[in-house]
């Protein structure tokens, strides 16, 4: 007799970041199907879905509803850091756990959250260490006007300045806003060596599109590279041809074999991270009757080698750090680090930023 365990899914199916949320939702649902079909397990996951529709004010009530109206104690989802922070107090009150499957800006290690995607020492720091010697040290920073954009650009600024570079400009757009004209004018005026783009969804698509137009009008601007920590394959169709040359960083790109491993192929790291979340939860609950009611703290109160890769101090994962460039409409990995230990507070900077950079391997294709 398999244990029937309800788990919450909290992904927006509408709104400015629906593509990212949809990718995570697909990964979670796929993992649930696999687990339910696995004869070696003693449990069946029953998804309890709520759709906040990209409305920030719906996350908290819908999360509370999952935790009060059903027996679910684990919720997979939220996409923006803003929505994750909205639901944490609710999780604290109800003793619930959130499995958060997106890259984020770090400086958090909640007792009620497992972070299955990358934090800055796994995305932004390796990306900047790779980019600064290649492209130059004059940076232009853009981002969406909330904590992801702000903190990503703050860390980027620190890294650029520490490398002796300068930040030529830093501009923000409200989530969903597509008026990128000022940013484009500033890029034209300042001619940066590279642009770090932490815009989300349509703002980002519009920026990339306007930048492509600028390149056509202004050949001297050349191929000013655009870097991002949050664009994955799930958004490439929406961005279209102007994504060409975009450089991204993440623990996984379509077809990568290192993580999550097991020969499984995912559309994007967003899908992979949500899949890993469900799979890891299943591994923690399997053959432990009653464990589904435990708090995360109790669930993880076991030897480190039984935590399925979750760092007990930070609840983050050790992840590869892959840098990939869009070529012919697909991400091609151009550099990788195999396993980067999570450091969400960037407090182990000396370890992660050695003076030389021997750990980056260049892949020629």
């Amino acid at each position: 007799m398999r244990r029937q365990i309800e788990i919450g899914l909290l992904f927006s199916r509408a709104g400015s970041y629906a593509l990212i949320a949809g990718s995570g939702r697909a990964g979670a649902l796929q993992a649930i199907d696999e687990i339910n079909a696995d004869p070696a397990l003693d449990l069946t996951f029953i998804p309890v879905e709520r759709d906040p529709q990209g409305n920030i004010d719906l996350y908290q009530p819908l999360c509370a509803e999952i935790l009060s109206a059903t027996s679910a104690r684990h919720v997979i989802g939220t996409t923006t850091s803003w929505s994750r922070k909205e639901v944490i107090p609710t999780l604290e009150k109800a003793g619930g756990t959130l499995w958060y499957p997106c890259p984020y800006e770090g400086f958090e290690a909640s007792d009620h959250v497992v972070y299955t995607h990358a934090c800055p020492n796994q995305h932004l720091v390796p990306l900047m260490e790779w980019a600064l010697p290649r492209y130059g040290r004059r940076a232009y920073l853009v981002g969406s006007n909330y904590i992801w954009g702000w903190e990503s650009n703050r860390v980027a600024r620190d890294l650029v300045v520490a490398a002796g570079g300068t930040v030529l400009g830093e501009r923000y757009l409200r989530l969903g806003d597509t008026d990128v004209s000022r940013m484009i004018e500033e890029v034209r005026a300042t001619r940066p060596d590279f642009i770090l783009n932490s815009l989300i969804g349509p703002s980002s698509y519009e920026f990339l599109s306007a930048l492509a137009q600028l390149r056509q009008q202004d050949a001297a601007l050349g191929a000013v590279p655009v870097l991002t920590c949050n664009v994955t394959e799930c958004e490439l169709p929406a961005i279209g041809a102007v994504a060409e040359g975009l450089v991204s960083v993440g623990p996984y790109f379509h077809g990568a074999t290192g993580w999550p491993g097991d020969g499984q192929v995912f559309e994007s790291s967003m899908e992979a991270a949500a899949h890993v979340a469900v799979r890891t939860l299943a591994a923690l609950l399997a053959h432990r009757p009653g464990a589904e009611a435990l708090s995360l703290q109790s669930l993880l109160d076991r030897p480190d080698d039984a935590l399925h890769g979750i760092d007990p101090a930070t609840h983050h994962l050790t992840l590869p750090s892959l840098i990939a460039e869009v070529r012919d409409g697909r991400f091609k990995v151009v550099a990788e680090r195999a396993a980067v230990h999570p450091d969400p507070y960037l407090s182990r900077r000396i370890e992660i930023r050695p003076p030389d950079r021997p750990s980056l391997r260049v892949i020629t294709q």
């Binding site: 944490i88 007792d111 450091d343 507070y345 182990r348 900077r349």
Partner: protein, 200 residues
């Protein structure tokens, strides 16, 4: 776009928690560990190694002066108050310890990182200000010496204004403060007209 906040390198920093065994200690240890600090909890006595800690978290509910191996307010590192009862007497005691940050109990899921940053900045700013005030005080107390030196110099310089200007030039060439130059000059006696003072 100036950089406002200095983020100290917390990886490998040491924190000591002065609190009786309690879930508060476990919650603090978890947060500190996640940030990257090493943590030691103690109660009621502080271990000798506490003087080498980078941060002290101390219980305001049960704490008292004699627990600490320094005079109240003289801790050589930032002190962060763990406040349960907000009774004025207890707040007063926390302030007498010159707490540079605070966290309210019960300690939950957050609060430690911001407390660390705020305490570090407050502590450093307070020390810098204290050093500046001590320096200004010392210079103030040397006013008499400066007046004496100017009077001595005025005998040969002709006017107090010229004497003061001479003293200032001496200080500049010796690379010392005006007060130090004045003290040195008095110790050597007034120079003869046109002669140069040699640096001791």
């Amino acid at each position: 776009m100036s950089r406002g906040l200095y983020v100290p390198n917390l990886g490998g920093a040491r924190a000591v928690i002065v609190h009786r065994p309690h879930p508060t200690v476990a919650a603090l240890k978890r947060q500190l560990g996640a940030i990257g600090l090493s943590v030691e909890a103690c109660w009621p006595e502080l271990p000798a190694s506490a003087v080498m800690a980078d941060y002290i978290f101390f219980d305001v509910d049960m704490g008292h002066d004699s627990q600490f191996p320094w005079k109240p307010g003289d801790a050589p590192m930032p002190m962060i108050a763990l406040i349960g009862s907000e009774a004025p007497g207890r707040i007063e005691w926390a302030l007498s310890q010159k707490a540079a940050g605070k966290i309210l109990k019960p300690v939950g899921d957050g609060g430690v990182f911001s407390a660390l940053l705020i305490a570090r900045q407050t502590f450093d700013a307070r020390n810098a200000m204290a050093a500046e005030i001590a320096d200004l005080r010392a210079r103030l107390s040397e006013r008499q010496t400066v007046v004496q030196a100017v009077m001595l110099l005025a005998r040969t310089a002709g006017s107090e204004e010229r004497a003061y200007d001479q003293l200032r030039q001496m200080a500049m060439s010796w690379r010392v403060t005006i007060e130090q130059a004045a003290a040195r000059m008095i110790a050597h006696g007034a120079p003869a007209a046109g002669s140069r003072l040699r640096q001791k």
